[in-house]
Amino acid sequence: MEKRTGIKTLADLKRIQEEVSRRISLRDKAENPESLVQVKVAMATCGIASGAKEVMEYFVLELDKRGIDAVVTQTGCMGYCFAEPTVEITLPGREPMVFGDVNPKRADEIIERYIKNGELVDGIIPQNYNTIES
């Protein structure tokens, strides 16, 4: 979160909202291969209990070590309790993919095969819900 002065009017909020969403959509829709890979680790109590913290640390360290430009963030519960820890990966210009039962060993496979080569790996969780357009 950036340091900002207070939001004084609704217009301020709308301006910030546009700014932030532009930044996020740029990240989402980026077509050039150099742009960032996004890794979101589901870090609610359930995820953490099944080892999501370790997985998140692994992604942060290893992506850095292997020289891959990526943003690793935490998020809330994706609802797939049966497959925790769950990780959503968005490669530039591609649909987000959710991987289930990710431990450091699987994370390594995901980095090497999916993030580097765009090859899918076993254990993808298909999205089974619609979200309202916010």
Binding site: G6, A42, G76, C77, E119, G123, P126, N128, Y129, I132
Partner: protein, 610 residues
């Protein structure tokens, strides 16, 4: 990037697995190898698509074709037609039951509409500790709109029109609640968020607070504007440390942005939120007990009236809403009452979040439009019952709810239909039970919880539930009599009619609903001393098989209570009235002659030495 042109995703979820999806995978792989396509086509096993009724499922990327009920023998056709010639295999496409047409890609499939995320809209997409991501997803827009463009009454009317009802379980119309609180005048009023989620097997409020705290904060501020309160309090159990931490972070960030605090959006409206920690007593989810607990008193409910809207926290008008109820508010304001009320059934609008747990393949958090059926939840979203066992019942609404059975599978779920079926919406815990669960033990489990959690203020709940528990315990021990069943029913009715608060009034529900739906199980426990699911330890019997027993005396010697008789080289016999079910004989027997059965064994042979 990848050299693969196409991906085949084969569902390897438990449901599809049981219908040969692993064979489908192997056949596809062999076919790809045979056609030398291994460099271009990648076959992947995926998790469950949540559509097990139509499994096994194969999805083809990049064109998103969705094949259902694929047999191993279809593999060749999929590879030849679709991958090589580029023609979809029509007969395997999903047939939309409404239009009777084949659906080409999964984006247009009805079953994806089975789940609609409104309250959970941001959970699992945003970083809950970064307010910017929430703002990007429209957080605080509704608050801004309300306090700069609408009067409190207009907003209350909008919530009333939307038909939103309390998601804590009882289903009181939220708009009406706000209206009552807004009409009472006082120098100070309070908005309270009830985050004291206590039902066994429920975790939806925690997930919302951990995944999207700002939507709750924003809704509380909106409520404050509507009822004329400047202070909000979140009552959250101390067992939720992560939710607490994220709420603290969210409140601090919102204050820094000026979205909480004095003169929000440059208007005269001020609102701030603080946290109050509960010690995790179930009764503190009841609003009057919750208010007492916040005041530092014992968490005991009070008589209503006066309702909290008249005299609540510190004697001031107070509006208490559940987390999930609040999470719906900003969306309703931005998208309109009509949009919201178009979802759901006639009297229950919108969606409901359920925590799906128990003997189900896809344990998880789901959000479904009101009016969906149990069958859709269990078999399509939940992926069916674990290990292909037979479905027995679903316990909804926690200890206050009841069980729904086979005959309710196609009932549309809403507040009224669940009540009519002898259960209730409750906060949204949904525990799936299969043939291996004993319903008497399930009722006993809930009563045990209630006895533990009853605050003790009123006698029917304090004493009556203890007696209910003891009676159930007696039945599971195999010591029950016919009059115990009558006693259960009468006592339940009295507790229901005479308890002070919702906890006591609904506590016999698990007993009543199991009596209504599973009387035969009670009867078996009482009259045949039998527990069909083999869950009641005392109703399992160690027996010796005449055929396999060689009369070696090993079990006779090891039995600590001399319950086994029989001479050397003659079949031994276990006397059930003496047996303490320690299992030592079964461990000792070299010939697997001793087994555990749930039918009361035959009469003892007349013993020469007995």
């Amino acid at each position: 990037m990848s050299q693969f042109k196409m991906h085949l995703l084969v569902c390897a979820g438990t449901g599809c697995h049981s219908s040969q999806s692993d064979l489908v995978y192997e056949m596809l792989r062999d076919e790809v190898l045979r056609k030398r396509l291994e460099g271009e086509v990648q076959i992947i096993r995926t998790g469950c698509f949540g559509f097990c009724e139509k499994g096994p499922i194969v999805k083809v990327l990049p064109d998103n074709t969705f094949y259902t009920q694929v047999k191993p023998s279809d593999a060749r056709e999929i590879i030849d037609e679709h991958l090589i010639k580029g023609r979809r295999v029509e007969r395997l496409l999903y047939l939309d039951p409404e239009t009777d047409e084949h659906v080409l890609d999964s984006k247009h499939m009805g079953f994806y509409k089975k789940q609609l995320r409104i309250a959970l809209r941001n959970c699992g997409t945003i970083d809950p500790e970064n307010i910017d991501e929430s703002i990007a997803r429209n957080a605080y827009q509704a608050l801004g709109k309300v306090i700069t463009e609408q009067t409190p009454q207009e907003t209350v009317d909008l919530i009333k029109r939307s038909g939103l009802r309390g998601r804590g379980g009882a289903g009181f119309p939220t708009g009406l609640k706000w209206e009552i609180a807004s009409r009472n005048t006082a120098d100070q009023k309070y908005v309270v968020c009830n985050a004291d989620e206590g039902d066994p097997g429920a975790f939806m409020d925690r997930s919302i607070l951990e995944g999207d705290p700002h939507s709750v904060l924003e809704a509380m501020a909106i409520c404050g504007y509507c009822i004329g309160a400047t202070k909000g309090l979140i009552y959250i159990r101390a067992e939720y440390p992560l939710a607490i931490r994220r709420l603290k972070v969210a409140i601090a960030q919102a204050r820094e942005y000026g979205l909480l605090g004095d003169q929000i959006f440059g208007t005269p409206f001020s609102f701030d939120i603080s946290l109050k920690y509960g010690a995790g007593a179930f009764v503190c989810g009841e609003e009057t007990a919750l208010i007492h607990s916040m005041e530092g008193k014992r968490g005991e409910p009070a008589n209503k009236p006066p309702f909290p809207a008249q005299s609540g926290y510190l004697g001031k008008p107070t509006n208490v809403n559940n987390v999930e109820t609040l999470a719906n508010i900003p969306v309703i304001i931005l998208k309109g009452a009509e949009w919201f009320s178009a979802i759901g059934t006639e009297k229950s609008k919108g969606t409901k979040v359920f925590a799906l747990a128990g003997k189900i393949n896809n344990v998880g958090l789901i959000e479904v439009p009101m009016g969906i059926t149990l069958r859709e939840i269990i078999y399509e979203i939940g992926g069916g019952i674990k290990n292909n066992k037979k479905f027995k019942a679903v316990q909804t609404g926690g200890p206050s709810g009841g069980c729904l059975t086979e005959k309710h599978l196609d009932t549309p779920i809403d507040y009224e239909s669940l009540t009519a079926a002898g259960s209730m919406m409750g906060s949204g815990g949904m525990i799936v039970l299969d043939e291996d669960d004993c319903m008497v033990s399930v009722a006993k489990f809930y009563l045990d919880f209630i006895v533990e959690e009853s605050c003790g203020r009123c006698a029917p709940c304090r004493i009556g539930n203890k007696r209910l528990y003891e009676t159930l315990d007696k039945i599971t021990q195999g010591k029950g009599k016919q009059e115990d069943i009558e006693k259960l029913r009468n006592l339940s009715q009295v507790i229901k009619d005479t308890s002070l608060c919702g906890l006591g009034q609904t506590s016999p529900n698990p007993v009543l609903s199991t009596l209504d739906n599973f009387m035969h199980e009670y009867m078996e426990h009482v009259h045949d001393k039998k527990c069909r699911s083999g869950k009641c330890q005392n109703l399992l019997y160690y027996v010796i098989d005449d055929e396999d027993c060689v009369g070696c005396m090993a079990c006779v010697r090891v039995c600590p209570v001399n319950a086994i008789t029989g001479a050397k080289k003659q079949t031994h016999y276990i006397h059930q009235d003496k047996c303490i079910k320690c299992g030592a004989c079964m461990e000792k027997c070299q010939f697997d002659a001793i087994s555990l059965v749930n039918d009361y064994p035959r009469e003892a042979p007349v013993m020469a030495d007995a």
